[in-house]
Structure formats: C-alpha cells, structure tokens
C-alpha cells in the first residue's frame, strides 16, 4: 500500500485504537484512577517520555534487538545449512531424522535453566536460547524447500555434470532463496518473542527485564509504556521484512496469494 493510499484509508484503521485510547483516558479521569496495576494513557505517555529521556528504553531496545538479531542469524543460518544438507543427502536425512524429531518438540523456554547453568546470565545465554529456538523450524523449512526444487533442474545439473558446490550455488540456493527469506521472516518475529521471554524469566537486560522491573516497582505507567513499545518494535521489524520480501521476491509474495 502506498503512503498516499495509507493516509486516505488510514482513518478507518485508526478509528478503533484512537477511540480506545480516548475511552481509557476519559474513564481514568472520571474515576480519578489511582492504581498499582493500571495507568491512564496520559500517564503512560509521560512515563514513555521519561524512559526515553533517561536512555534506559533505548539501551534496553538495543540489547534486545541485538540478541534477537544475532540469535536469528545463527539459528536460521545454522538451521538452513543443516536443512539443505538433509534435503540433498538421503543418507544424512535417514541418519538424523529420528534425532531431530525427538529434539524438535522440546519447548525452547525449557532450555532456559539448562543454558543458564552452562553460560550464566548475559547476552550470550540469551543468544544461544534464541538460536536454539529458531534452529528446528529453519531446518524443517529448508529441508522441505530443497526437496521441492524442480526435479527437472536437478536432472539438468546432472546432465551438465555440475560439481556438488556448483549444484548448490547455481541451482539449489537460488531456487530456495525465497523460502529461506520466508523462514527468516517468520524467525524474526519468533526470535523477538523468545528474547523478551528470556529477559522476563531470567536475564537481567533488555526490554523484557525493563517491563519486569516496572511491574515489580509498582509503576504501571512505565510497564505499559514498555509493553506498547515492544509491540511497536515487533510491528516495525515485520513491516521492514515484508517490504524487503516484496522488493526482492515479488513473484513469491504473489504466490502467497496477496
């Protein structure tokens, strides 16, 4: 959607959120809200300005995004590599299939205590957990993508006697690139979820820790400011990746039925 079209039709989409904010503010003002768990939109906005002003919000944002990005690159990169190997080699697939199916269902949050014991607190621990959480979906998507590469193209590469590396770089990788990007897009959203989860449950840094601290200090306005900010970050990341996907793989986006 172009910016002009967004402005033109945007008022309809903005109607509900704006109405909710107004209602919340009116309700808070009328009831003289004094709460340890709720806050008026005005108070939330003021808290937002103050956490920006003291730099804590931006520092937390940088910590969370850095952990999510590095974890994402490691998890999707490693997972895609493994998935491609499994997709190309029947032997490797047979040998590892059971192991993967056994490891895959373990919820990634269950790894938090284990990884924490090994690495302690800090950004490394968070990155490792995010990477592990993103690993298996990336393996499965890349393996499926490789197996769906047009068999005729594999025959063409056979007829030309392409080396394994040439087949990988000239046929397989270009063929699955749209799916790999799709995998990265899904992983980015999930990576953010895991990052905030780790920060809320264990790691003393980032946005998740910020929201926890605000809650424990009984500062609801600040807590909601963090919450809305986390939502906005997630929306921005996904919008950026969607725009990149439309830009680089227009045909594939069309294939998704948009």
């Amino acid at each position: 959607m172009s910016a002009a079209a967004l402005l033109k039709s945007g008022w309809r989409a903005a109607l509900l959120p704006v109405a909710l904010v107004v209602v919340a503010q009116v309700a808070a003002t009328v009831s003289h809200l004094e709460s340890d768990s709720l806050a008026s939109p005005f108070d939330i906005a003021r808290a937002f300005v103050s956490v920006i002003a003291d730099g804590s919000l931006l520092r937390a944002t940088a910590d969370t995004l850095k952990a999510a990005a590095v974890g994402c690159v490691l998890g999707v990169g490693g997972g895609s590599f493994l998935g491609i190997v499994l997709g190309l080699s029947r032997i490797a697939d047979d040998a590892l299939d059971l192991t993967i199916e056994l490891l895959r269902p373990i919820p990634v949050v269950a790894l938090i205590p284990v990884v924490m014991m090994l690495l302690g607190f800090g950004v490394e621990m968070e990155i490792v957990i995010i990477a592990l959480g993103l690993l298996w979906p990336a393996v499965v998507l890349a393996r499926a993508a490789v197996k769906e590469v047009e068999p005729r193209l594999m025959e063409v590469s056979n007829m030309l006697q392409l080396s394994f590396i040439a087949r990988l770089t000239k046929i397989v990788l270009p063929a699955i690139l749209p799916q790999l990007f799709m995998s990265l897009k899904l992983a980015a959203g999930y990576g953010l979820v895991v990052a905030v989860t780790v920060e809320i449950t264990a790691n003393p840094l980032g946005l998740g820790y910020g929201i926890m601290m605000a809650q424990q200090a009984l500062r609801p306005a600040e807590m909601f400011a963090y919450l809305i900010w986390i939502g906005a970050i997630g929306w921005l990341v996904s919008a950026a990746l969607n725009a990149a996907q439309r830009n680089f793989f227009p045909a594939f986006v069309k294939g998704e039925g948009r």
Partner: protein, 274 residues
Amino acid sequence: MALTQLSTRMQTGTRNSAPASDETRIRIRDVTLSYGNLQIIGGISLDVAAGETVCIIGPSGCGKTTLLRMLAGLAKPTSGSVELDGSMIAGPNRSVAIVFQDYGKALLPWRTAAGNVSLALEARGFPSAERPAIIRDLLEKIGLGRHADKYPAEMSGGMQQRLQIARCLAQEPKVLLMDEPFGALDAMTRQVLQDEVLGLVASTGATMVFVTHDLEEAIYLGDRIVCLQPNPGRVGRIVDVSLSRPRDQLLTREDPEFLRLRRELYDLIKDDHQ
C-alpha cells in the same frame, strides 16, 4: 573451437555430407528395464551411426522416454548394455545433451536467456571472459539474439524451447537427445523449429535421437524411424527414410514417398492401439 563450425545455413537444413558414417556412435544391446515386477522395456537392441538422426515413435507406455533417459544416463538398464563410442554409459555425460519437453521446468527462472546458456559453459569450465561471445553467437544462431536479457517467464513457449536447445548446443554434444521437444508447441512454431534443428544437426554433425508421437515429424526429421511396441517396450519395426535432404516443409511433405511412409507407420501404430 567447434562452435565456429556451426553453419549459418541452419534455416535450410543443408546436409552436405552423407547423412551417416559407418562409425557406430550408440550401441544398445538386449536392454531391459523393470521396476519391481513391472517390465517397462523388454529387450531392445539398436545401433545409431555417427551423424544419423533416428526418430523413435510408438504408443504411450512403450518406453520411448525411458529408452531416451537410458541414453542420457539418467536411468540404468536392468540388464543389457548401452554404449557410447564403445564405452558403457554409466551416468550423465556432457557429450550427450537432452532437450526436455517441459522447457518451462528445465530452464532456470532466475537467470536470463544468456545466463541459462552460460550455465552449460560454466559447467564446462569456460573462463568468464570467453563466455559472452559464445553465448551471443549461440543465441543469434537459434534466433534469440535480441532476447539475451529476457527471463524465461518473459518468453513464449517456442522461445523457451529455443533457449533450451541453445543451452544443449553450448555443451557441444556428440549426441543430441530430444524428448518430444515440440509436443507442447503450436503447429507453425513446431515446423519452424523442426527446420532449425535439422539445420543445426546438419552443421554440427551431431547424432540425434528424437522421440515424438507425431508420425509426420518423425518422417520429416529422420534417417530411420524406430517403431516401439508396448507391454513391454520392444522394437516393432525399423523403417528407413529415403527422402532427400535438405528437406522442405512443403515439398517433402508432398513427396509420394512421404505419404507412403505415413500410411505404413500409421498402420503399424494403429495395430498396437487395438
């Protein structure tokens, strides 16, 4: 290099020398192929001379395509042997090129016409500096000179099939295998491409094995026509085509010998369908 031997007279399909030398290029001996209990091919023997064009016809399920895939090294016979220049065909070999019917699936959609031809040159280890000139030459010869920068999706079916043929020619193959290459094209495009292929084969001296379900196409292109019979696939009859070359879409097809052959093959195939 041999590409420069490609004559510019491809449109007319001139063959200056005798169609086939005595040298045997392909030797098929007692080949069978079974999947489990199902026998697809039940004992085929056939020799193809260097420079010869052999067309293979037969009802569906007679193993035409399977036989071609064995020549390409993409399928292995259950018993018997397939030899190229006296050595067993153990797998795909760059001196054998195959043109698939489904050109849309055989081209790399993310590469331009030039890029698709380049793939064959890259496989042969040509330095990148030498590729553009060869590619331009080949695309020019196959009538795609002005479309080098187009992607397959931007090309018509006939152009895509031309491109696949150009990529196969970039292999400089001794043997060109064609698997119903024009089956999905309209009649006019098909005739133009038939003449182009005849011209290219004549000028390169390649041996061609051409699978088709179109009897007239088989007569028009072939030096010999192998009629396969189904269940399991085996050679029913081999018919020599004595029509003169170069062939002409109007004159050749009006030749009494052409009509006689068409009748003969039609009767043969009809019997198999009953």
